[in-house]
Amino acid sequence: MWAYFINLAVLISINAILAVTLNFILGYAGIFSIAHALFFGVGAYTATFVAMKFGAGFLTATAAGMLLAALISLALALPALRVRGEYFVAASLGLQMLAVTIFTEWKSVTGGIGGLTNIPPARLFGFAVTQPEHFLLLSLLALGLIVLVIRALVRSSFGRSLKAIRDDETAAWAYGKNVAIIKTTAVVVSSALAAVAGSLYAFYLSFINVESFVLDTSIQLMAMVIIGGTATLLGPLIGTVLILLLPAALSYLPYLPVTEIGSIQQIVYGLAMVLLMIYRPGGLWGFQDAPPSSKSGTA
């Protein structure tokens, strides 16, 4: 029983890293990206490649993942940030779908759909992290560090500029803020930190394949942020826990027909999204900052 909870906790903390980093650009900067899962994937594949080909330890592997994710996110950010919100969604959509095809076809590196198996355990300062309890410590540590980094950024003048840009880009620009650089930096930071989650994921499951990095994953991450509460630090964490626990909780209900459980889970999840959006669009925890609005956005 304990092992089951630890497993769930590790998955929650990995997804929480993704949700928190997505919230950084979505909630605080108003940049709606459906490509977050691709940076998750880049982190995972890079870390695996570096660990398996060169025997690298966890820190090196993760750093490599972060670097590559940052570079790729530049490719997305620089051109696409010139256009309005809904176009950025579409551009990120295009990049996400393209990435899935590349993940599937570049078999020598990613293993295609068959994936990469027997990934060696993470090695940290000579110590191999094989026990699930130890891994949980590692992933919680990573989550904590990342939350602190995001918190620091949000509370700095950089964070204030981000929020200003989110609320009214023209005004921020008129005030002398270099909008493009600030937004690009936010995207790069968010993507690089998302790669950390990818590295953790690969070392934990010892197996990765493209199915974990598809469009559905990006959408699920976006749902975690929006349902939990945008532009708050606690919101994405709450959203992650809820969305990940939902299937587990539902599977305990005794009177659901076995063949329909999966569908019912998805229906509940969809219903939750709809109802929350109608009655509480700021998300469950979102009463600090108002969500970005399509009309002139003052809270």
Binding site: V83, E86, A91, L93, G94, L98, I219, M277, P292
Partner: protein, 291 residues
């Protein structure tokens, strides 16, 4: 001959994409709602058509009529029960997106539960292609799809240009208040947009049921392509959405001339990405699309 065949296939597929994209573009253009659940209308219409013809044995016109009715009811229900309440609360653009996506998930799973998750199709001699030239095969249903797309699109253009409701729909995207000044209710105009936009997917849904076949995820796929087509064609331009759909259908098939099949879907999204970077306004979009 392979090239010509791929071209024809591309036109057939493009016609279906164009119809669905036009529906999405009409709704978005008139109401500014990112109706991602549009694919669900497609799925519902397609499955109802299949069920009434293949399972219940109804005559086609009746089945098609039911499909249209269902799609329209779905579109109207989305507008009335989902989008309007959200917009009342100063809903963010993307709050709408997530809610629509939630509906998409619900519909996809309900259809799977009710109709089964396997592959189903409507068997009809119309989907068998005929060798019109040596090596060139065209199915009657393909020709029908192209004809219907042209007819439907022309009809829609006339409607928007000539009728009161049509003009009101065009005005709604520019200036909702002006509509009120003229004594029309923006809510009603939005309803018309949803009704027509949802109804127009039905021919594509029926053709898909007859050719490629259905599974509960079919709407989501069509939705993605429609979205891409709308952007490539230019948001706010129905003509653009239609051409965008055609272009993407052609690209997906012509890619096979030189590339391996697994890259044909990627081609669609590369096209989308390039358009967004270099020409965000699309083919015919309004100038204020980019910054």
């Amino acid at each position: 001959m392979l090239l010509l065949q791929l071209l024809i296939n591309g036109l057939q597929l493009g016609a279906i994409y164009a119809l669905t994209a036009v529906g999405f573009s009409l709704i978005f253009g008139a109401t500014k709602i990112f109706h991602v659940a549009h694919g669900a209308a497609f799925t519902i219409a397609a499955y109802l058509f299949w069920w009434t013809t293949a399972v219940k044995g109804w005559p086609w016109p009746l089945a098609a009529g039911l499909a249209v009715l269902a799609a329209v009811v779905f579109g109207l229900a989305m507008e009335r029960f989902i989008y309007r309440p959200i917009q009342r609360h100063e809903g963010a653009f993307f709050t709408v997106f997530i809610a629509a996506f939630g509906v998409q998930i619900i519909v996809q799973n309900l259809i799977g539960t009710v109709f089964g998750r396997g592959f189903v199709s409507v068997t009809t001699p119309l989907s068998r292609s005929v060798e019109v030239l040596p090596g060139l095969f065209v199915a009657p249903v393909a020709a029908l799809a192209i004809v219907l797309a042209v007819v439907g699109f022309t009809g829609l253009t006339i409607y928007l240009a000539r009728t009161h409701w049509g003009m009101a729909m065009r005005a709604l995207s520019e200036n909702p208040d002006l509509i009120r000044v003229f004594g029309l209710d923006p809510g009603r105009v939005a309803q018309y947009a949803f009704a027509i936009g949802s109804a127009i997917v039905v021919p594509g849904a029926i053709f898909t049921a007859m050719t490629a076949g259905l599974n509960p995820a079919v709407g989501a796929h069509v939705m993605l392509i429609s979205l891409a087509a709308t952007i490539v064609g230019g948001i706010g331009s129905l003509r653009g959405a239609a051409y965008g759909g055609l272009l993407l259908g052609l690209a997906e098939n012509l890619a096979l001339w030189r590339l391996d099949p697994q890259w044909s879907e990627a081609v669609t999204f590369v096209v989308l990405f390039l358009f967004i970077i270099f020409r965000p306004a699309g083919f015919f979009g309004r100038p204020h699309a980019a910054k």
